[in-house]
């Protein structure tokens, strides 16, 4: 072929326009492994060894985790006491809503027996049922600006229908969530000795420090026609109102627990705990249950066998699969990449 840089190229080019000699501005694609899609690559295939070891690996990882989780869950001591019906005097049980909205004294005494030794800290929760804290109308009914800044007090547009009182001045904290603040109270005593419930530090530190303002004080709260729940001391800044802070972290599911406080002494097995509670909160309008829960925790959290069982099941299943596939590969091996399995090589007369 003609050399493109030969000195006689003028005549040469004229003599061979059809020459395939590479021109300078050739459109030939530049070679690179990228453009030719030949980059080094890992191409995994499911070889039997691979499959079996994957299943084995999962079972090896999962079974110990499952066992550990189960043990952790079993370690948790939990006392649950459901009281929403029992704390209503027998005569009033026909119209619970009326009772709860009346101004009677709603003190109620419960006794709890400690089933097992409980190491401190013992967390005190209240558990509500059938309370849709995740309802869209409810979740949206808050003003984070207002909670944070004393200047944005009037920022109640998102708080409807609980934004302002009759004269138009804003409620702090506004919104349905704050309005419906839980207001049952518990006090515990053991052998007629008061058990202190530490209500400090029950909320998230980040919430206390950055979300609820230190200079934001409750205002016009629960002044409306209907009281939704607890009142707030107007002299305490919102960042200190930990019950509110806990409550404002709305629950994900309609059955939820909220931390009430911590008991920072050990409870011995078979000890009897006296609970004096004020049954103020109206869950009767929606048939909600109320439970008082005392629980210890482990590294895994509260009492829940689910994780342990699930891990054990999956681990066990994978172990079984590993075994099954081992047998399959031993009994009926398929040579990998065996061309006789190709569709056009399989004997059509066979069927």
């Amino acid at each position: 072929m003609m050399n493109s840089n030969a000195p006689s190229s003028s005549s040469g080019a004229a003599a061979s326009t059809d020459s395939s000699a590479p021109r300078r501005n050739s459109k030939r694609p530049k070679y690179s492994r990228f453009t030719q899609q030949e980059l080094p690559a890992c191409k995994p295939i499911l070889t039997p060894r691979w499959v079996i070891s994957a299943f084995m690996l999962v079972s090896i990882v999962f079974i110990p985790i499952g066992v550990a989780s189960l043990f952790a869950s079993r370690d948790v001591v939990e006392i649950v006491n459901r009281y929403e019906t029992d704390c209503i005097p027998q005569p009033s049980r026909s119209d619970k809503v009326k009772y709860i909205q009346s101004s009677e004294d709603k003190t109620c005494n419960r006794t709890l027996r400690v089933p097992k030794h409980m190491k401190q800290p013992i967390y005190v929760y209240y558990q509500l049922d059938n309370f849709y804290q995740n309802h869209r109308r409810y979740v949206k009914s808050r003003s984070d600006e207002q909670l944070k800044n004393s200047n944005s007090e009037s920022d109640t547009s998102s708080c409807k229908p609980e934004g302002t009182i009759a004269n138009g001045s804003s409620i702090v904290p506004c919104g349905l969530i704050a309005w419906s603040l839980f207001n049952d109270t518990y006090s515990f005593s053991r052998n007629n000795q008061q058990l202190t419930v530490n209500k400090k530090g029950i909320s998230w530190k980040s919430d206390r420090e950055h979300k609820f303002g230190k200079d934001v004080y409750p205002k016009n709260f629960q002044n409306g026609a209907i009281r939704g729940g607890a009142n707030l001391t107007t002299s305490i800044a919102l960042s200190e109102q930990e019950d509110l802070i806990v409550w404002m972290r709305t629950a994900a599911l309609p059955t939820f627990r909220k931390l009430y406080g911590k008991i920072e002494v050990d409870l011995q097995e078979n000890e009897i705990i006296e609970v004096t509670l004020q049954n103020n909160y109206n869950t009767y309008s929606f048939n909600g249950k109320k439970k008082l829960v005392l629980s210890t925790t482990t590294w895994l959290g509260g009492k829940n066998d689910f994780l342990g069982i699930a891990y054990l099941t999956v681990g066990g299943l994978c172990f079984f699969l590993a075994m099954a596939f081992t047998i399959v590969y031993l009994v009926k091996p398929r040579r990998l990449g065996d061309p006789s399995y190709l569709s056009w090589n399989r004997n059509p007369g066979g069927h």
Partner: protein
Amino acid sequence: MTSGEPLLSSSDPLSAPPPNPLSRISSLGCLCPNASFSSSIFEDTPNDLFDVNEGENLFSAVDKALREGNLEYCSPLKSSFCSAESQILQQFPLKCPPQDRKRMVSWGGSMELQQNSLAFGISGGSSHDPENKSQRIRHKSMQIDDNLSHEENPRLIYVNDPRTTNDKYEFTGNEIRTSKYTLINFLPKNLFIQFHRVAYLYFLAIAALNQLPPLAVFGRTVSLFPLLFVLCVTAIKDGYEDWRRHRSDQNENNREALVLQSGKFQFKKWKKIWAGEVVKICADDTIPCDMVLLGTSDPSGIAYIQTMNLDGESNLKTRYARQETTSMVFEGGTVSGLIRCEQPNRNIYEFTANMEMKGKRFPLSQSNIILRGCQLKNTEWVVGVVVYAGQETKAMLNSAMSPSKRSRLESYMNRETLWLSVFLFTMCLVVALGMGLWLQCHKDRLDSLPYYRKTYFGGRSAGKSYKFYGIPMETFFSFLSSIIVFQIMIPISLYITMELVRLGQSYFMIGDKHMYDSSTDSRFQCRSLNINEDLGQIRYVFSDKTGTLTENKMEFRKASVHGKNYGSSVLMSDTSQDTNITVSRTAAPVGKNRWKLKSEVPVDSELMAFLRKELAGDERIAAHEFFLTLTTCNTVIPILTRSLSSSCMDSEFYEDAEAVDYQGESPDEQALVAAASAYGYTLFERTSGHVVIDVNGEKLRFPNDSVKVLVKGADTSILSILKRDAAEDGHIRHATQSHLNEYSSEGLRTLVIASRDLTDAELEEWQCMYEDASTSLTDRSIKLCQTAALIECNLQLIGATGIEDKLQEGVPEAIESLRQAGIKVWVLTGDKQETAISIGLSCKLLTSNMQQIIINGTSEEECRNLLSDAKAKYGVRTSSCRNWNLKWKRNAESHYLEIPNDTKLSNVPMGFSEKEEGTMSTELALIIDGNSLVYILEKDLESELFDLATSCKVVLCCRVAPLQKAGIVDLIKSRTDDMTLAIGDGANDVSMIQMADVGVGICGQEGRQAVMASDFAMGQFRFLKRLLLVHGHWNYQRVGYLVLYNFYRNAVFVLMLFWYILSTAFSTTSALTDWSSVFYSVIYTSVPTIVVGILDKDLSHKTLLEYPKLYGAGHRQESYNMYLFWITMIDTLWQSLVLFYIPVFTYRESTIDIWSMGSLWTISVVILVNMHLAMDIQRWLLLTHAAVWGSIIITYACVVVLDSIPRFPNYGTIYHLAKSPTYWLSILLIICLALLPRFIFKVLHQTFWPSDIQIAREAEILRKRPNHVQSKPDQSSS
């Protein structure tokens, strides 16, 4: 010169081939002017054909249309040569819209008008005598007037009087604007255009819904984000493109041209040029607007232009200035006159006008106009008058794009999208009904529920309802707001993703060095971005022959002169020597310039020697005329280049030889001229008025003193108009015919050459008619047809030529591979049956053991009988059980394919061809000609043909017209679901390319019409193998998976939200933050899909090429089908349940808050979806790793950022969560449990029912492992 003594007496009329209005001349097939018809007129066509066939009158005219005839006529003293070729644009008198007559032979047709009038002048006495000529023309101007008056509303251009021209009509100036927008209208117009897309409207509707107070699910700004994002990106892209267009427009508009202003040519900006102005263009300049040539630097008025910018053809074309105006320009006088032309139209191959100057009127045609965008070459200057400017130029009118196609997979995808809409609707309905029921149950307590307050309790509006509009309305709103929440169930982003993926795939296809053609320096081109994946499912390939299977580089091989065959003794080895001897011998005695051809042609020494003899005797004269015809009867232009050394070996001898390069549109003609030159008949000058031929050193200038009609054309058309009474020459005719058969059976393209002497009276009569016809503005082509028929009759046969068209490299292998892949290759060609069969054999399309069914009937009845006979004989089922038959046949076919040939894999010997029923044991090949197709495609025989054709392994259609090609493609397309691909290189393939599901154009010798109309374009036929088997397969696999994965990805997310909503009292709460919901498909999971869609590949190209049968995966729709869709949806359901319930159970009765839960779900779903993808990735590149793992990391980063803004209620969530082991354990559990069924299914499938691809993949990877290092260089070198 001989007088026209009859060389061939009339022959037996019965032996003449039957009238064949449809057939195209084999050699000129590529040049056929009416190469493409739009399908809209398709239905009319055959009717016309029938008329033509029956009408004797029209028949001859039609035949004329099928070829080019040259007329040579001379007056006794003054010679005038006129290569007036019958410029007949249509094969049959069919009213086809002008824009469909794509490729008129430009100079063939164009020269004729010019030359015609010239001939008048010459015959009158002197060659430059405008007076005389004008006298004669004036006689006819009355008739022309009539013609003009018929033309409605002609455009009047006053030459050199732009003011008058533009006074009456509002012609546009020459300023062009290709940009769409201006600064002011950019925003509204751009938005308007963007919202033409349904996807955007969907986005907009959702966003608008979200603005309604009762429905505000997302924050208002958040919901607008995706739409704004897409709009902004598109607007910026559009804006940038438009800015660039603005700039190029400005450059273009500010270019300068010489315009005649106050008597002098002065520079003027392009945008200020007006119609009617006279412009001067110098060599190599671009032409600023459409102009009628007035004069050129050449006294005869020739200008050469290159139309590269217009139609991509790089060869030079000639345009002529009218002799009348040329002389005026030369004399320096100002030209003035009036041009009447048609209104602006986009047909670049036609121009009809006439010009009135000094009371004379003469016609203007396409050969007199030069178009904007062309370049002037080899001509010092031209002067022309602007007729169309700016937006009205043909180049601007032609800048529209061809309609886009939609891919098959995408239409399936739309079907599944419909299913998804049903799911979406169901889910919304469930939520809405649930809401309604819930409200109904709690109707009395709505005001006392702490989490649902119906009315304002305090404040000014106490007692009023708060966002409560009654239960029915609330139900309805709930339905709407759940649509907002579930909106991504309809994967709108998928359309954008697919576009990006196809773009990436195209990048790799274009960059594939195996599809680069070095001989034409052309890369693969993706002209359509919508149908990449269709390449993986092609079942029928319709191929053109000339230029597609063959190189379309013609070589003159054989000649039959006066019944004697030459050329068989040519030896390839001494060809160049022969040529040189020829040249030196012809040159030496005269001592003049020696003509050196650029290409060397093998010469038959016997014929060579014969030509040296004295010019006497019938045979010798015939040979002379034979070569004269070859030399003159064409549109080839000789371009002389003086070179110092024309060739390396003979540089001393040829120091100052002139090299002749022949430029022409027809490769056949070039080959013939080159061959004639090798035999001593060198064409070295062609102007509008004369042709100069160097015959063995002696320069002959035509016209000379005799009048002769020289005609070359296809055998069927010429043989039928031969003189029929010269019985003594019957043997020549028979001999020639047997030679013709011999040539075509060797795969040569044949042409027949004939001549006729004309008397002066005949000439005179013809000239009158011709003049009349050629100046008419209406029906000019039909009139010309009729005129040409007058003298193109009673011809004498001189001889025939055989031209070889070489097969392209790798064609047989490519066809074999395609056939193994289960693709049926049909060849549709304009060639003769014998030629087609021989080419079929040589490219392994036909094999000797095939049963050939030949259908060439001349009537409907005959075709019907032939078809039914063939069906009966080979046991083809009728259409009543066609579907079943199809299926059965397909099975049979695939069984056939299993016969192991050379594949290494097929080591299991089998012979199950015997197992098949007897009917299928033989391979059938159907050969059908265009004549029969006329009857078949029109009538109810179509289904018969379909039955027969689909049961044949090979179908070869010969002598088909362009529209029939489309008809055959349509036959398959409308009756099967199979994908069709049409591949061709010429304008005659355009209709077929546009009709087929995928159109592929070959950048070949025949210009770029096919490429312009195609979806993909490449340099060689053999690239088709790689395109389909490798890229098609990859693209199909990738896009198929991409679609399923995107359905899954969005559905799993939506289902997860749906389950949660069921546990929020149907209140459409989302646990996820607004931003996470929006980012999910935009940021969190989009990149890996795109990367995998572009880069993943299941098999290497080597494997795919080695085992073409793997292509069957596309035929079986293995990557995307209903079954896979439903499996995916069931898997999605499982995964969403796992996703929802694991956290729910884990955090049952715990203090978990909604944002922590949401955060857990966000992270889990993103990891799950990416792991799902990771499990299916077949090829892990660094980029893939980065995309998949990077997405998870980015998601975490986004979540962290979102949780660090105190303004959001979810502030601090992730920090809190990440500390708890439960969180991490839940994620792990979700991933493993969710993917477990899929993994098991995959393993079981691969263990017990491995797919072909799977096995090939295993073979490929396992084989490579031991000698990994060795195989690498192989890969890169191959």
